[in-house]
């Protein structure tokens, strides 16, 4: 796995269970303003598209450091992230606290100020889909166009995944990223009903 210094913002591991990130002083926030001091980051909330995996980090947790002008973190889940991953940076620790002790966490999210949200894509499921389709294309020995179908599908899936990744990481466009990821996923799971 690439070291966290090698990545721009976020990196997910091959098995999509570990996410690491690096936010440096001067990093632009969602409103185009730079985060002058990364020590203002008090809590990180990481979750995937369906919120099946949700992690919370604070600067004092293991795997987190915020010295030298860079906030660096690594978080591992027991369950793999799927789809578009959101990483929210908050300037207060109240997020996910049960402040009024009513047994419900995270209901007081308004108490904290969301500084910035970063996005990336956990591509494991789609990568496996592409691998299977390419394998099928390689192993296909038909002389007709039948062999091309798997390859064309793999190509489309790859393009959708690439689009989703760029939309998430480059444009921070969550909706576009989710749309393209879902399309890639649909291409992977749908079965042609025409017997072709």
């Amino acid at each position: 796995m690439a070291s966290v210094e090698d990545v721009r913002f976020l990196n997910t591991s091959t098995n999509c269970k570990t996410i690491s990130g690096r936010i440096a002083n001067g990093h632009l926030d969602m409103f185009g303003s730079a985060i002058a001091d990364i020590t203002d980051i008090k809590k990180i909330y990481i979750y995937d598209q369906s919120k099946t995996v949700q992690l919370y980090l604070t600067p004092t947790d293991s795997g987190v450091s915020n010295s030298g002008g860079a906030f660096i973190f690594t978080a591992t889940s027991t369950t793999a992230f799927v789809g578009v991953i959101s990483v929210e940076l908050h300037d207060a620790t109240t997020l996910n606290y049960d402040i009024d002790a009513d047994g419900v966490k995270n209901e007081n999210a308004a108490d904290t100020t969301l500084m910035q949200t970063l996005y990336t894509v956990a591509s494991c499921q789609i990568d496996c889909c592409i691998a299977k389709l390419v394998d099928a294309a390689i192993e296909c020995h038909c002389k007709c166009d039948k062999c091309k179908e798997d390859l064309l599908r793999a190509e489309k899936v790859f393009l959708m995944l690439q689009g989703a990744t760029f939309a998430a990481e480059q444009e921070s466009n969550y909706d576009h990223a989710v749309s393209m990821y879902n399309k890639a996923n649909t291409l992977c799971v749908e079965v042609c009903a025409c017997g072709c």
Binding site: T14, N15, C124, D127, I130, A131, K132, V134, D135, L151
Partner: protein, 147 residues
Amino acid sequence: MWMLMATTVQSYDNNQVIVDRLAALRTCISKKHHALYSKMIGGIQCDTGENVKLTLIAYLLQDYQVNAEDKKDLDCLQVTNSARPGWKLINVFLDYVQRECRDCLTIGATVAVGTDGVSSSPTPTITFITTQSGSPLITQGSDNLIT
């Protein structure tokens, strides 16, 4: 007249094999894409199938290699290939690279097949028939002749 020699093909046991294959694959893709470019500007009808296959394999191998410190056995390229007993997807892809990109590979280099030493499934050893210069002999279907 062809002089036949045997090249033993072994299972890989370290990440360097993947690194070497990727380097050759990138060179191969560059050459094939340039050939495609030449056909396109020449107005020749061309099939992009092989280019797409190699590009997708490069993408998958890149991810496999970059994240080599993860548990590789959990990677989807470790899934068993149903068409070839004892083979996994990683082996199929490396074999495909060996076949399609032989001009970009070191002559006589071994190709990764088998199971990467996983004891739960067999590690096949395949011997390709090669020419004196080390190039594998292939059938009309572009498959390697093996013993």
